[in-house]
Amino acid sequence: MDRLDKESRTHALLAMVKIRLAEEEIQNLFMANLVRGTTHLAIGQEACSAGVALALSKGDTVTCSYRGHGHALALGMSLRSLMAEMMGKESGACKGRGGSMHMTDKSIGLLGANAIVGAQLPIALGAALTAQVRRTGAIAATFFGDGAANIGLCHESMNMASVWKLPVIFICENNLYGEYSHIRETTPIDDIADRAGAYAMPGVIVDGQDVEAVHAATVSAAERARNGQGPSLLELKTYRYGGHSRSDTAPYRKPGELAQWQERDPIDILAARMYSDGELDPEEFLEIKEAIAGEVFDAVEWAKAEPFPSPQSLEDYVYAAS
């Protein structure tokens, strides 16, 4: 039922590998001091962004959290645009004004990654309101973590989206940790999806490591939204292999927990299925990975050589006239 055709599977596989390799490289760039501040990697969670992106249509919009490189790449942001933004260059997605936590690309429907936990949710409501008022048929998806599920604005947004029957999909990537704290220490329930009932919307638990399951759940929620039936809450059960941010080595995790999740790696799961269905062989997969590694290398080298914004442009984009 959830099975994608070979073309879509290949698309999802490429997206996930691209996210994985790009994020590994971003970590290296940090170590080399080419990337400043902090960054939040989604290694291990690639099926969430890739599966949702595959289910969206042109004109749909997305907001997401600061763990947003994966969403940007899955939606089609170019590696060069991403890497240049990571390095604060003028040719970056946000002309170097945003950085790791604010990846934004209007041309692919990415209305912005957000550095304030949960602040991206109502922005998706607004995009959905535009779609509803203008009758465009578009929907808005908003990604957030299990941590954001405990932000008051999450409640406000789900409630108002449901009252107005806005075409929104709330996508909670439950990776078990809000910053350094396990969900059991901060949240009295295991399943965020349980909260959907309070907003009279469907709450669906999805295997977030299975890109085909993520895709199928998103297709259902999108159909419901486009039909005027209002929002849905998808809870994608997933795991981040790294810590919360750059400096976090995640010593708070139970021994063996990471290895257990790595056994259900989203890229491996899809590749194994494609092997067994005769859609991919290990040699082809290796070639795919090498080709993407080459693209990542190219993007990084290109971005390194790009110029920073000129100091004279400091006041640009503060107001509309500039």
Partner: protein
């Protein structure tokens, strides 16, 4: 030219822009079917219908965030936050999202968003429903903040705010809702960021907004009988701040009093004083004087509420002190 109240000028401005541009939508708590808790927006829902005019849940953060999302995707929302004291409830959305959205995307979006709220003391609403918000909002590049003081300015500035491609916070003073004045409904919108000379004079400059402007004008009228001619500047816009109009006046009068319905520390008047100290120090014949709320909070009891708001006596006293 028709006369109307400040309250009606709000209604007329929103209706005019909604008729002119179908991208304008309007929502907030009790603004649609009830016509607003201050009866500021009656008839808007009836004229424009439930798609463009909506009552919201009591969810200030979601109201502002939704308005932002709509603004960056093609609508031109007017969001109401009822009492300006509720602005802090939505402060993250206003400060970290609305103000920064264009900038942090590298100019990919404009944010044509208007946020309206009702502010000010004098109505016996107590300490959490009586504050003025402009000083809180001036420290965020990306925002524009206006405080109209007359029906004509309300009509002109609110329409300008709605047409503006940047986020504008329009603060309405509760005590002015029944103020009557002439309004040219066919006039072009005002330009944002411009102060106005509300009363020309030559002896001393009084800078004020809204309720304090009314009191400054009353003081000027009274002093005119004695031959003292204060010039009264209606600031109108807090961000941008119109330094040129203030400096032009101080150059003429050589004396400056700033009257603000705000606590002294961090009040907007400090910015006006700093501006004049920086760029107009040698115009001055006397120190700059500020008439503020004291370092106390707005009480419910009328005896205390009346005491904290700068009144005509205090303004007059400051003028006499500076002219002596």
């Amino acid at each position: 030219m028709p006369t109307m109240t400040y309250r009606q000028a709000v209604t007329e401005a929103i209706a005019a822009e909604m008729r002119r541009d179908d991208a304008v939508v309007f929502f907030g708590e009790d603004v649609a079917k009830a016509g607003g808790v201050f009866k500021v927006t009656p008839g808007i829902y009836e004229e424009f219908g439930p798609v463009r005019v909506r009552d919201t849940p009591i969810s200030e953060q979601a109201i502002v965030g939704t308005a932002l999302g709509a603004a960056i995707t093609g609508l031109r929302p007017v969001a109401e936050l009822m009492f300006a004291d509720f602005i802090p409830v939505a402060m993250d959305q206003i400060v970290n999202q609305v103000a920064k959205y264009r900038f942090m995307s590298g100019g990919q979006f404009t944010v044509p968003l208007t946020i309206r709220a009702s502010q000010g003391a004098g109505g016996g609403f107590g300490t959490q429903h009586s504050q003025c918000a402009e000083s809180w909002l001036m420290n965020f590049p990306g925002l524009k903040v206006v405080a109209p003081s007359s029906p004509a300015d309300m009509y002109g500035l609110l329409r300008a705010a709605i047409r503006d491609d940047d986020p504008v916070i329009v603060l309405e003073h509760k005590s002015l809702y029944n103020l009557v004045g002439e309004v040219d409904l066919e006039a072009a919108p005002e330009e944002l960021g411009q102060a106005a000379v509300a009363r020309a004079g030559e002896d001393i400059t009084l800078v004020a907004t809204q309720q304090m402007l009314q009191r400054a004008l009353a003081t000027a009228e009274k002093l005119a009988d004695e031959g003292i001619k204060p010039e009264v500047i209606d600031l109108r816009s807090l961000a941008p701040l119109d330094g040129a109009t203030i400096l032009r006046s101080v150059r003429k009068t050589s004396r400056l009093i700033i009257v603000e319905e705000a606590p002294r520390l961090g009040g907007w008047g400090a910015n006006v004083a700093a501006l004049v100290a920086d760029e107009g120090l040698f115009y001055l014949d006397a120190p700059i004087k500020r008439v503020n709320m004291e370092n106390a909070l707005i009480a419910y009891s009328p005896a205390l509420e009346d005491e904290i708001i700068p009144n005509a006596q205090r303004i007059e006293g400051a003028v006499r002190q500076l002219l002596s």
